[in-house]
């Protein structure tokens, strides 16, 4: 059978003020009917440019296809070179014969149109259906993407749907005209892990049922392992390696592919290991060694959180009074030992970030105790709190927003020291901190925008280390980083823990990373910790149904362990908003094993 897509020596250039920049060059691949081709690469690898070229959408972003052919087999069997097609022809192809799913389900739907309108517009335009026919087809589509209560959804607006449902609508739109090719550009990156599992399973089923080809763009090797028939690995605008998924994962030929795979944590690979272990990085032999097991001594408690509760007001009505409360953190208790990492995992909105911020009192908790070395943080006045915070620092998710764009790095790292009058030998101290996080010294006088994401995160860590804290709250500190950079930053954090005896509260949604770094794991759901215990206990013997469903949804970076073949439907998360005066039950736990507790 004829290939749906044959890309031959594609080259895309972008005209910028500084001259011509090559987006991608010499990119060639084919996609057969019923095949999923995954294009994988880190940011800036040109994977999105490739997919946008196939739709000829790259021109709207200022790019030009300067070389190569993009042959697409149309519905009638004729071959169309997309690179040379007229705008009229492209208008017939886009959305009709090639469907596209975008990353951000929040912005891919027009907020002022109903779901019905979004779905029927394309059908009436491309297929010439009447309004009634289009509506009937829209209903069919919503059923096929398994949206609950599809009749009601038709009349709703995008903001009334959850993120997962919105992405299902986006997929329904892409599927509306029964395309021969579906392009999915990071379709699950913005979604929680369980919704990601559902969407991946859905794309798999639709592919099987309709026999269409899928071009799947992603940065996530675990998703590739789960989805791909064949894989294209890209780096800096060119193809590094192409091959069947098994070959790429089991016998990669190129160094870059090997390095990329080495940096990916695989869920389950830490089974039977007692201490966290550094990520393997090619070319860094020191990291192959396991961390030296901590000397056996009686663990000393650093942080003790008792019955912490944090609520946010929901304002409403004409007078903007508080009409309800978000129960962000609800009766949460845990301890962190000196030199250990407690990971808080959960989906977005589960309260894990609020919990971290509450501990530093960056948001005020409603009740509970926070004891650091026996000192109650909640009882402190503003001046004492300021001093106490020197012991607890924070590293944030977005390395682009957590540094002030207008200040030199030297000044930003020095600031915490200046705040406490520790200005003796300031320059030497800042230099030390730069060395500690392995940043070159000539970065001292640079501004944040001159650095890459990973380097910025190192600066943020240096700033957090400045006051010799005992606890660092790392709020999704590696989530925004490319996988190889993520591995380096994780290794740095583990190295610092070993050298300085730091404790981490590691807030993350990524189970595979957590398995790698944590001593203790707490699983959060609707503001409560539903299960907490030693890392091995949580991963080997998950005892709460929520922990089990969360673990079952994690994609594993191993093509022999596919998990998203059948449809998946997880129970939707209920709302944490309750009326004023609502008194929730206390969190009560049963002991599964010593140190391993599960919410009743």
């Amino acid at each position: 059978m004829k290939d749906i897509v044959t890309v031959d020596h594609l080259r895309v250039e972008f005209a910028t003020d500084g001259g011509t920049v090559v987006g991608v060059q010499d990119v060639s691949f084919t996609i057969a009917p019923g095949e999923t081709l995954c294009v994988v690469g880190e940011s800036g690898s040109g994977k999105s440019v490739t997919s946008l070229s196939l739709m000829r959408l790259v021109e709207f972003g200022g790019g030009t296809i300067t070389q190569g052919a993009l042959n697409f087999t149309r519905a009638d069997g004729s071959t169309l070179d997309v690179a040379a097609a007229s705008p009229d022809v492209m208008g017939q192809v886009r959305g009709n014969e090639i469907g596209m799913i975008f990353q951000e389900p929040m912005t891919a739907l027009n907020p002022v149109f109903t779901i019905e309108r979004q779905l029927t517009d394309g059908l009436m335009l491309h297929k010439g259906l009447t309004q009634a026919q289009a509506t009937a087809r829209a209903l069919d589509l919503l059923r096929s993407v398994r949206i609950p209560e599809p009749e009601r959804r038709l009349k709703q607006y995008p903001h009334e749907l959850s993120g997962g449902m919105r992405q299902r609508v986006v997929i329904a739109m892409a599927m509306a005209c029964e395309p021969k090719l579906l392009i999915a550009d990071e379709p699950t990156t913005a979604l929680d892990v369980k919704i990601q599992a559902e969407i991946l399973a859905l794309i798999n089923r639709l592919k099987r049922e309709n026999g269409m080809a899928v071009l799947f763009i992603t940065h996530d090797m675990a998703v590739v392992a789960q989805m791909a028939d064949r894989v294209v690995v890209m780096y800096r605008g060119a193809i590094v390696e192409t091959g069947p998924v098994d070959q790429i994962f089991n016998a990669p030929q190129q160094d870059y592919t090997k390095a990329l795979l080495a940096a990916v944590p695989k869920l389950g690979e830490m089974k039977g290991k007692s201490a966290p272990e550094r990520m393997r990085l090619i070319g860094d032999e020191a990291t192959h060694a396991a961390l030296a097991p901590a000397p056996v001594r009686k663990p000393k408690v650093l942080l003790e959180v008792k019955n912490l509760t944090t609520r946010f007001p929901v304002k409403g009505g004409i007078l903007r009074r508080t009409v309800a409360q978000v129960h962000a953190v609800e009766d949460v208790s845990f301890t962190i030992n000196v030199g250990e990492t407690l990971a808080l995992v959960g989906e977005s909105g589960c309260g894990k970030s609020s919990c971290g911020r509450s501990i530093l009192r960056l948001i005020e908790p409603a009740s509970g105790e926070i004891l650091i070395n026996g000192n109650d943080i909640r009882a402190l006045g503003p001046q004492d709190l300021r001093r106490a915070r020197a012991d607890m620092q924070m590293v944030f998710q977005d390395p682009f927003a957590s540094l002030n764009p207008y200040r030199r790095l030297r000044a930003q790292v020095a600031e915490p020291l200046q705040n406490f009058g520790l200005t003796a030998d300031l320059d030497a101290k800042v230099l030390d901190l730069f060395d500690r996080v392995h940043l070159p010294r000539d970065f001292l006088n640079r501004y944040p925008h001159e650095l890459s994401g990973g380097q910025r995160q190192r600066v943020a860590i240096a700033r957090a280390l400045a006051l010799n804290p005992k606890l660092i709250v790392a709020d999704e500190a590696v989530s925004a980083l490319d996988v190889s950079v993520q591995a380096q930053v994780l290794n740095l954090m583990m190295e610092l823990q070993q050298d300085l005896g730091l404790s981490y509260l590691f807030i993350s949604h990524d189970m595979a990373v957590v398995e790698r770094v944590a001593h203790q794991v707490g699983v959060m759901y609707l503001g409560r910790i539903v299960e907490i215990g030693p890392r091995a206990a949580i991963f080997d013997n998950p005892s709460h149904p929520y922990t089990r469903s969360l673990l079952s949804a994690v994609p594993i970076a191993d093509p022999s362990k596919r998990r998203f073949e059948g449809d998946m439907n997880f129970k939707p998360i209920s709302s944490p908003i309750f009326p004023l005066g609502h008194q929730p039950a206390k969190s009560q736990y049963t002991t599964v094993a010593p140190g391993h507790f599960v919410l009743i």
Partner: protein, 271 residues
């Protein structure tokens, strides 16, 4: 310094320097009564060799008037905008950074001022204080403050939620330090943009006050006064509007270009 040397920067700076030079040197070389000397035989004369830019309804030379008016107009506009920044910046900054009750109290105050049209407010203040140059500046400065405070508050609110502000707070930085080191530099671009736009409006506001007898007193010249005076003879002597109008337009153009370049220079990302 190299970054000033873009086309835009050069045009902006040249324009501003030229206008400033005219405003400063003009009154020194032109006899003071040149702007008020009437030539009754040449009323509303179109531009000619005798009068390069024509004359107004009283036969006064437009070239002299626009040159001598520059000083008054710019003095009032620049001082008034400076004043509104000095008042509005801390107001907006404190309001946006602290939020809550502080924000509510300050912003209701600002809202009260906003409820009056800026010109009406300036008029009232000017009428109370009496008509002279200094009071005109105060009147316009106060009238423009709420707009600036509003914009600065919005920006401060946005910046105050950035993780680097939270990180600074977590590392024990005091509120004053956070405001001056982290928030102020990040809202400066908005202040520059709003400031340059305000300058144009301030020139016109001065005209409005003058028209009502509270700003510049005739027969002295100011750009705003000249524009006002041209309003009922636009059809027969369009140059009476075009000449001061062009002066205002060129000033604003120069300021905008300069403001853009200044903003780029202050932003380390544009290096």
């Amino acid at each position: 310094m190299k970054r000033f040397l873009t086309t835009k920067g050069l045009i902006g700076i040249t324009l501003l320097l030229l206008i400033a030079l005219i405003a400063i040197v003009g009154p020194l070389v032109i006899p003071p009564d040149a702007a008020t000397a009437m030539d009754m035989r040449a009323r509303r004369a179109p531009p000619s060799l005798d009068h390069f830019l024509g004359t107004d309804q009283l036969g006064r030379d437009m070239l002299y008037r626009v040159i001598l008016g520059a000083r008054t107009s710019l003095e009032i506009a620049v001082s008034a905008v400076m004043m509104s920044i000095v008042l509005g910046l801390p107001l907006g900054l404190i309001s946006g950074y602290f939020g809550g009750l502080t924000d509510n109290v300050l912003m209701r105050l600002v809202d009260t001022l906003l409820a009056f049209p800026a010109l009406l407010l300036a008029l009232t203040i000017s009428a109370v204080l009496g008509p002279n140059l200094q009071n005109t500046i105060i009147a316009i400065g106060i009238a423009f403050t709420p707009y600036l405070a509003r914009i600065i508050r919005g920006e401060a609110l946005r910046v105050a939620q950035m993780p680097y502000v939270e990180a600074a707070r977590a590392s024990g930085t005091t509120d004053i330090m956070i405001m001056s080191r982290h928030i102020l530099p990040n809202i400066l671009p908005a202040v520059i943009v709003q400031g340059t736009i305000s300058l144009a409006f301030a020139i016109l506001a001065e005209a409005g006050l003058s028209f009502l007898g509270l700003g510049t007193q005739p027969p002295a010249a100011s750009w705003g006064l000249m524009i006002q005076a041209s309003r009922d003879q636009l059809d027969i002597a369009p140059w009476t509007a075009v000449v001061p109008g062009m002066a205002v337009a060129l000033t604003v153009l120069g300021l905008n270009m300069f403001g853009d370049v200044l903003r780029d220079i202050l932003d380390p990302r544009s290096k």
